[in-house]
Amino acid sequence: MSSTTAAPAPILGSTGEARLAELALAKARRKRRERAIEAVLLLAACVSVFTTVGIVYILLKESLAFFSHVSVWDFITDDQWTPLFEDAHFGIRVLLAGTLSSSGVALLIAIPLGTIIAIYLSEFAGHRTRETLKPILELLSGVPTIIYGYFALLFVTPMLQRLMPELPGFNVLSAGLVMGIMIIPYVSSLSEDAMRAVPMSLREGSYAMGATRLQTAVKVVVPAAFSGIASAYILGISRAVGETMILAVAAGMQPNLTLDPTEPAATITSFIVQVALGDLPHGSVGYQTIFAAGLTLMMLTLSFNMLGYWMRRKFREAY
C-alpha cells in the first residue's frame, strides 16, 4: 500500500521521489531474498530430521527382516542371547540386563560426583578455579573411549581385584566405574551452566537471610536450576546407555542374564561392535540382529530423551 501511494516529499536530506520508488522495488526484491534464505535455513534445520528418518528407516528395514525370522515374543521373553550360535536364542533381555547394570554403576558414580562438582564449581570455587578446573574436567569426556576401555581392563580391574579377590578379570563393575568417571563432565558441566544461570538476586536473597553457602546452594540454587540439572542427568544416562568401546573391551562380552555388576556381561552396544567388527556374512539373520539390537537401543534412549523433554517442560525454571 505504502509503496504504491504517491510518495511523500521526504522531510529530510537528499532523498527524493525517485529514491522512494527505488525503495518499493527494493522491498519486493528483499521479500523474495528473505524467503529464499529462510527456506535454506529451514532445510538445514531439517537435516537432523532426515538423519533420524534415515536411522529409523535403516534400523526398521533390517529389523523387519529380522522379525520375520524371530518372533517378537521370543525376542522379548527368551532368557538367552546366542544369536550367532548353532542353537540360536534371541533374548534381548540378556543384553538389556548388561546395559542396565553397566549404566547403573556408571550413573551411581557420575550423578553424585557430577552434581557435587557442579555445586562446588558454581557456588564454592572462585572464578579462577572454576575457569581452570572446568575445562580440565571436560577433557575427561574428550579422551577416546577405547583408551578408557584398556584403562578399565589393565588398571582398574587389577586394583579392584586386590579389594575383591573373587572379582573376575572381566566385569561390569570396573567398566561401569570408568564409564561413570568419563560421564562426570557431561553431568557436571551442564548442571553447572544451569546453576550459574540462576540469577544472582536469588542467591543474594538467600545470603541476606543469613544462609551459608551450602544452604544457599542446596535450598535455593539447585531447586531453581532443577530442569537444567535434570537435562544434564538425562544426557548422562543416554551417554551411559550408548557407550560402546569401554564395555566391549572391559566388560567381558558375556551374555549373562544378571544384574550383578561383579559378573561379566554383554551390552547392546558391545554386541553391535562385536558383530560389526566380525566375520558374519551380511544379509544373514545374525547380521540383522545388530539392527534389531540397535532399534532396541534407539527406543531406549528415545524414551529417556522424551522423559527429559517432558521434565524440562514441566519444571521449566521460573526465577
Binding site: 533420524t52 573411549t145 544426557l235
Partner: protein
Amino acid sequence: MTPSPKTTAPVAARRSTLNAEEMRALIRAAKRYDVLFATLGLLALAIGILTLAALFTGMALDGIPRLNSEFFTNFPSRRAGQAGILSAWVGSLLVMTVTALIAVPVGIAGAIYLEEYARKNWVTDVIEINITNLAGVPSIVYGLLALGLFVYTFGLGQSILSAGLTLALLILPIVIVTTREALRAIPQHIREAAYGCGASQWQVVSHHLVPYGMPGILTGVIIGMARAIGETAPIITIGALTFIAFLPPAPFMGDPPAGLFDWAFSGFTVMPIQIFNWTSRPDPAFHQNAAAASFVLVFMTVGMNALAIWLRYRLRKNIKW
C-alpha cells in the same frame, strides 16, 4: 552523636529465637558443613582429575619413547619399531576437514532457523525434540546409518567423504545446541536496535547475531570436533582401512582425471582405528605404538579444547553489551 557505652548484654536477647552465643554456635555448626562440602567437592574433582592424570602418565610412560619424528612421518608397518602414524593423522585431519565443512554451515544455519525464524508450531517442536534425541543416539547407530546410506545407497564407498559426513551428522546436535545458546545469549535489545535501523531479518542475523555469537559458536564447533576425532565405533562400521601406506592425492595431483576433491573419495585410516589395530596385535611392541598414538590423539583433543577456551576468551573481550 555520642558513642554508646559498650554493653555486654547480648543484643540478640530481644529476638525471640536465639541469643548471640547460640547464634554463633549455630553459624559455626552450619559452616562446618560448608567446609565439609567443599572438601567433598575437591575430592570429587580430584577423582576425575587423578583419573585423567593416571591415564596421561600411563600413556606417556609407555608412549613417549616412541614419539620421535619418524613416528609422525612413517606409514604403518609390520615392524613395530618402524611403524608410524602418517596415514592416520593425515586421514584424521582430512576427515575432520570434511566434518567441519559440513557440520559448521548446516549446524549454524539450522540453529539460526530454530532460534530466529521458527514459529512455535508442531514442526519446530518435532525438530527440537528430534535434536535433543539425536544428541543421545549412540554413535554406533550413526555407523549403521552411514553404512546403509552413504556407503551403499549413495555409493560413496569407504571414503573420507563418507566418514566426514557421518561424523558431521554425529556432531550436528552439539553444534546446533551450542549455537542456539550463543544466539540466545545475545540480548534482545541488540536485535531491536538493528531492526529499529530498518534491517531485514537476514541482515540482523548476518550483521549482528552470527558475528556476536561467534565465540560461543566456535566453542561448540571445536568441542564437537574434539568429540568426532576420538570416535572409533562408527568409523569401524563404515570400514576404514587399516593398512594404507600412501596419502590421499593432493588437489590436482592424483591420477588423471585429477580434480580438487579427489582426496575426499580416497580410502583412509584415522587415529582411533590405528590405535585400535595396534592394541589388538599380538606383538606387545605394537602396544607401545598404540600408547604413543593415544598420547598424540589425546593431545590433539586437549589442543582443540584449549583452542576453544582461548578463542572464547579472545573473542569475548571485544563483545560486551
